[in-house]
Amino acid sequence: MAKIGIMSFAHMHAYSYAACLNALDGVEFAAIWDDVPKRGRAAAKQFGTRFLQDLDAFLGAGVEGVIITSENVKHRVMAEKAAAAGKWILCEKPLAPTLDDAKAIVAACRKANVGLGTAFPCRYAQPLMAVKAQIANGDLGEVYAASCTNNGQFPGGWFAQDALAGGGATMDHTVHVADLLRWLTGKEFTKVYCENDRLLHKNIRTDDIGILHLEMEGGIQVSHIASWSRAKSFPTWGDVTIEIIGEKGVVSVDAFNQKLNVYCDTTMRASWPGWGDNPDLGLVRDFVRAVDERRSPAVTGIDGLRAVAVTVAAYRSAQLGKTVRIQP
């Protein structure tokens, strides 16, 4: 039975991964460490596990794999410590805010000979898996172009603090789709042009809207909207959509459009509770199995690094006002 721990509950996805650990068979949710003890203790109570305030005690507590869900800029330090202690790692996306940090994380895990995964749960969303199968079967023929969105509500907190997030919406909401397109087409991104700014939310320093014009190997034309543009009163957190223009046809996927429309007069809110399968469960299940089998998680650290390369180039493009090559 794999023993898994979670490092930091700064990122809200930690709560979903924790619930997955408790829902899955063959895994023990062994411990939580958090640099904010109050938050870690509350999470330990909520999920029925123990909180260890001392990082060395946590890493020495028999945990075999760790899920890192801290602020983006802290990923590197935590991952390096966990890797040095021989732990398998599932790191929240983006793998890191800079290429240097992302490369350092990959190198640390390689040196320690531990598995490193990046948390891109969209690869486990049933609708996207179906589209992947359609493309792999050749149903669509050659892929010519795609237009994508990853819109969200404003997450607030450290997400909009450059010192902790290392970027804004362009970073937070590009990496998922960049990874999905690499996975769907098997091609790498080559260049990007980006317009971004802070236009929707006052009193924050980071960008909250980014439009990316990208190209992939073979000349695939891709455009993408990364935003924190969904209103507070919007019925759900946001979306992941991709329209793919292929040789034989067009497929449009709205990955989380398995929902009910609920209107509640008590709160005067409309909401879209989802009823589809939870992609996080597939992601966490693969990580647990990777730990058990001492293999690499299916979505690797390199996948995380490649997505970071796209966002880093996008920010540089926005700064320079011209097209920028994406580091291979």
Partner: protein, 324 residues
């Protein structure tokens, strides 16, 4: 455990796959049209036998009955007398009397009977039930359900014979009637209009209204009148809010370019799930057989669903409300 299929049309093929997914072995296939049985049996390495011979085999633990509706209960009774566990596709029978006779046979033989009211296992319908239970929309007063698409092309065209199939009211809207009862309790009375046209081509369209014992008014539309496609819509209104589901708001839509000699073809919007509701109902049935839990659908539930749609057709015929 081993399973045998009686009735190797579209639903027979679905349940052969689902039973196999659950770890059962398909050992025998029977159909009055032998080539149909041979085709299905060939895919699973099963034997082709007569329906009678299926029930005589010792290596068959579960019999799945996926024949035209009027023949269901005859096979259920014979399978019960042979001591088999029984999976029967919905509708349970063509008449209330048939279903009552089948329940008596099942009780006498002390075998388990599960009728495939699969909508109880759809993720979206379970989500709706949970939302209602959460109280977010308050006390429910009105429900509208809508289901259908093209007229089904069952082998032998038995769907076209309204005396056999009961049309969309009996064969398709029974899903919604059963779910209404599952979610909101028994119905008190029903009023129904059923189009049931045969010429120049078969077209059926049903409008059904139930008054539930709780006072809830429920309206059910069933269509086999659309030139193409299939859609499901549900709306539930309460004193504090409402909720809607629409299958056309699906995550995937595909439009293919014209192929040589044809126009562009629309593929039905897709909404994939990890485990099919048809497999979930088999898992539920097997859990009941293995004494792990009670079934989500009892034989009495299936009988009551037939009672609801029978009353609806009676109302359509008489033009009067029918008490349940």
């Amino acid at each position: 455990m081993n399973v045998a299929i009686i009735g190797c049309g579209g639903m027979g093929a679905v349940h052969a796959q689902m039973a196999t997914n659950c770890g059962l072995k398909l050992v025998a296939c029977a159909d009055t049209r032998k080539p149909k049985a041979a085709a299905l049996a060939g895919r699973y390495g099963a034997e082709v036998v007569s329906p009678k011979a299926v029930l005589a085999r010792d290596d068959v633990d579960i019999v799945a009955i996926t024949t035209p509706t009027p023949t269901h209960t005859g096979y259920v009774i014979a399978a019960a007398e042979a001591g088999k566990a029984i999976f029967c596709e919905k509708p349970f029978g063509r008449t209330v009397a048939q279903c009552e006779a089948a329940i008596a046979a099942v009780e006498k033989a002390k075998v388990k009977l599960f009728v495939g009211h699969v909508v109880r296992f759809f993720h979206e319908f379970e989500a709706m039930k949970a939302e209602v239970k959460s109280g977010k929309i308050g006390r429910v007063g009105f429900v509208k359900m809508y289901r259908g698409g093209i007229f089904p092309r069952g082998e032998g065209k038995w769907f076209h014979d309204y005396a056999q199939s009961g049309g969309v009211t009996f064969d398709s809207s029974i899903h919604d009637c059963d779910w209404l009862r599952y979610a909101f309790g028994n119905a008190d009375h029903v009023y129904c209009q059923a189009l049931q046209r045969s010429k120049p081509e078969p077209i059926d369209y049903a409008a059904i209204t139930f008054r539930m014992e709780s006072g809830i008014i429920a309206h059910v539309i069933g269509t086999w009148a659309h030139p193409q496609g299939f859609r499901v819509r549900t709306e539930i209104c309460g004193d504090k809010g409402m909720l809607q589901f629409n299958s056309e708001e699906a995550p995937i839509s595909v439009l293919m370019r014209a192929q040589a000699g044809g126009g562009p073809s629309m593929i039905v919007p897709a909404s994939p799930v990890a485990v099919s509701p048809y497999q979930l109902e088999w898992e539920d049935f097997l859990g009941w057989i293995n004494r792990k839990h009670k079934p989500r659908v009892t034989p009495e539930d299936a009988l009551e669903a037939v009672r609801m749609v029978s009353a609806a057709l009676e109302s359509a015929k008489s033009g009067r409300p029918v008490k349940l």
